[in-house]
Amino acid sequence: MANLQRPLSPHLQIYRWPLAMAISILHRVTGVALSVGAVLFVVILVAVAAGPVSYELIRGYIATTMGQIFLLLWTFALFLHLFNGVRHLFWDAGYGFQKSTTTKSGIFVLIVTTVLTAVVWCAAYLTCKV
C-alpha cells in the first residue's frame, strides 16, 4: 500500500515556462477551444438553414462586444493552432529540431498569428464596417 501522505513534487507551477512548453500547451488548449468552436459553427449553419429568425438571433449575439471579443480570440486561436501545426509538420519531416531553431520558429508562429489576426480584423472592419 502506497503511503499517500508523502509530499508531492511540485510540478507545473514551480518551473519557469520556456517558450516551447508554453506554445505546446497553447496548442492543446486552442485545439480543445477550436473543437467547441467547430460545433458552434455547425450551430450557426443549422440556424441559417432553419430560417431568418434563428439567424438574426445569432447575428445579434455576435454583434455584441462580448461576441466580437469571442470572435477575436477565436481567430487568434485558429491561427495559432494552424501555424504551430505547420511547425509540427516541419518537425514530422525532420526539420527544425535545433534548440535555437525551435525557439525562433516558436517566436515566428506567435508573430505570424498576431499579424494575420490583425490583418483579418482590419480587413473585416474596413470592407464591411461591422
Binding site: G31, V39, V42, L45, V46, A49, R59, H88, A124, C128
Partner: protein, 123 residues
C-alpha cells in the same frame, strides 16, 4: 536487429498495416485544413455582419458549398483524432472509454448536421 518479439516473428501477422493510420490521418487532415481554414477565416471576415439574404447567397455558391463540406469533414475528422489523444493522455478507466465514445459521436453528429444544413441551404 529486429525489434519484433519471437512470438510475433513466429506468427508473422504484422501490424495489419494500420499502425500509423491515426498519426497519418491527423497529418493528412492538418495539411488539408491549412488552405481550407485560411480561406474560411478570410471569407467569413469579408462577409462581416451579413444580412440573411447575403449569407444564404454566399452559402449557395457551389464553390463555397464544396469548400465548406470539405472543411467540415476535415475539421471534425481532425477534431476527433486530436481530442482522442488528449483523452488518452489524461483520462483512465471507464471514463476514458465513455469519453472516446462521446467524442466520436459528437464529431460524427456535428459533421453530418453541418453538411445537411449546407445542402438544405444550397439545394
Amino acid at each position: 536487429m529486429s525489434l519484433r518479439t519471437p512470438l510475433s516473428e513466429a506468427k508473422g501477422l504484422g501490424s495489419a498495416k494500420e499502425g500509423v493510420s491515426h498519426w497519418w490521418m491527423q497529418r493528412l487532415t492538418a495539411i488539408a485544413l491549412v488552405p481550407l481554414a485560411i480561406w474560411f477565416v478570410f471569407a467569413v471576415a469579408m462577409l462581416g455582419d451579413a444580412s440573411y439574404a447575403t449569407i444564404v447567397g454566399w452559402l449557395q455558391s457551389p464553390i463555397v458549398t464544396v469548400f465548406l463540406v470539405l472543411f467540415i469533414i476535415a475539421t471534425f475528422y481532425h477534431t476527433q483524432l486530436g481530442l482522442q489523444v488528449i483523452v488518452e493522455d489524461y483520462v483512465g478507466g471507464w471514463m476514458k472509454v465513455v469519453s472516446l465514445i462521446l467524442i466520436s459521436f459528437l464529431c460524427i453528429v456535428s459533421a453530418l448536421a453541418g453538411i445537411i444544413a449546407l445542402l438544405k441551404i444550397s439545394l
